[in-house]
Amino acid sequence: MRRLLGLLPLAGCAMGGAMHQAVLVGACADGDAACSRRHALAPIAVGAHFHPEVATEIAGTSTPNLHVESAAPDVLAHDGDALVAKKPGASAVLITTDDGSVVDFVHVWVAPVTRITLARRDGEHVAGLVGLAVGEDLTLVPTLWNGAQSLAGEAEATWTLVGDATFAMLPDGAADRRRLRARTPGKAILTVAMGDVQTTLAVEVVP
């Protein structure tokens, strides 16, 4: 079990608890490279949802049924299976058993978004101009930043396309991710905005 927990940081930037008994990671599918950006090693972006997954190492026992609680719900609220970043600050996230006894806790930070960049689903950065053939797909994930610090969490952004090319903009199973399918040739500007912060990407579609 100790070796298994040792591998978690490699798999997804695990955050060890202050009592050294549990780790907190983002719930991501295996091989989802872009999802690794959401792990709680980074602060969570204000307005974003973070889906935690906890694992424990407790001597002589398998993992008990665990719950997650926030010490400062005005900073980081607990909503169903997600932590919701409300305002900048820090909050201990308590990992507790059914009777409320604390197994471990992790201090999680919340920061505002000052910059957005775009990445493909494999995590590769996308900027400037992207060319697509008619019928081709491009899946994009916004990456949130506070200065040089990348932020964790899944944020609902506004996606708009303006231009003479036409696209189908499809949901892709995650709130923050979109799949663009090029329909007709032309040029367009894609804008992804979250509050006052936005980024643009030029897209050219060829026959």
Binding site: M19, A59, A71, A72, G89, L94, T97, S101, H107
Partner: protein
């Protein structure tokens, strides 16, 4: 009262104070936040404890006196300011007095809202009072 009587009474008081449980911090403060436990020393030794904790932060504290504290319960005078929970730390601590080892008795103090309150630790080995001050998160306007 003779000098001998005073010395005996003093020894008993000192022994009683010395036999109350010892509390120790078991987790570090997060960056830029406070989470510390300090002893309040009196003439006869540790009189009580005080905790300074940032709002939203948590602090793990262990309780022992020889063996780990037995049948430990913790209460807060104002859980809206400082909430207390028992904790499960799977760690054996040696009994320095009688030998052997027992699982650590631990509690967690959670800073809920700025203010001052007291936490009381009760165990078979004795009681301890902890004065807790919760500091506002940086950038929080004073209320």
């Amino acid at each position: 009262m003779s000098t001998a009587h005073i010395a005996v009474v003093g020894f008993v008081v000192a022994a009683a104070a010395g036999c109350a449980p010892v509390l120790e911090a078991e987790s570090p403060a997060p960056p830029g936040r406070r989470a510390r436990l300090d002893r309040v020393e009196g003439f006869w030794g540790v009189k009580s404890y005080r905790v300074e904790l940032s709002q939203g932060a948590a602090l793990a504290v262990s309780c022992q006196r020889g063996p780990s504290c037995e049948h430990m319960t913790v209460t807060s005078d104002d859980p809206a300011i400082a909430e207390v929970r028992t904790a499960s730390l799977a760690l054996l601590r040696p009994n320095l007095y009688g030998g052997g080892a027992t699982t650590t008795a631990e509690l967690v103090i959670v800073g809920r809202a700025p203010g001052v309150t007291h936490v009381h630790v009760h165990a078979e080995q004795g009681d301890r009072d902890v004065a807790v001050t919760i500091i506002p998160q940086p950038g929080t306007p004073p209320t």
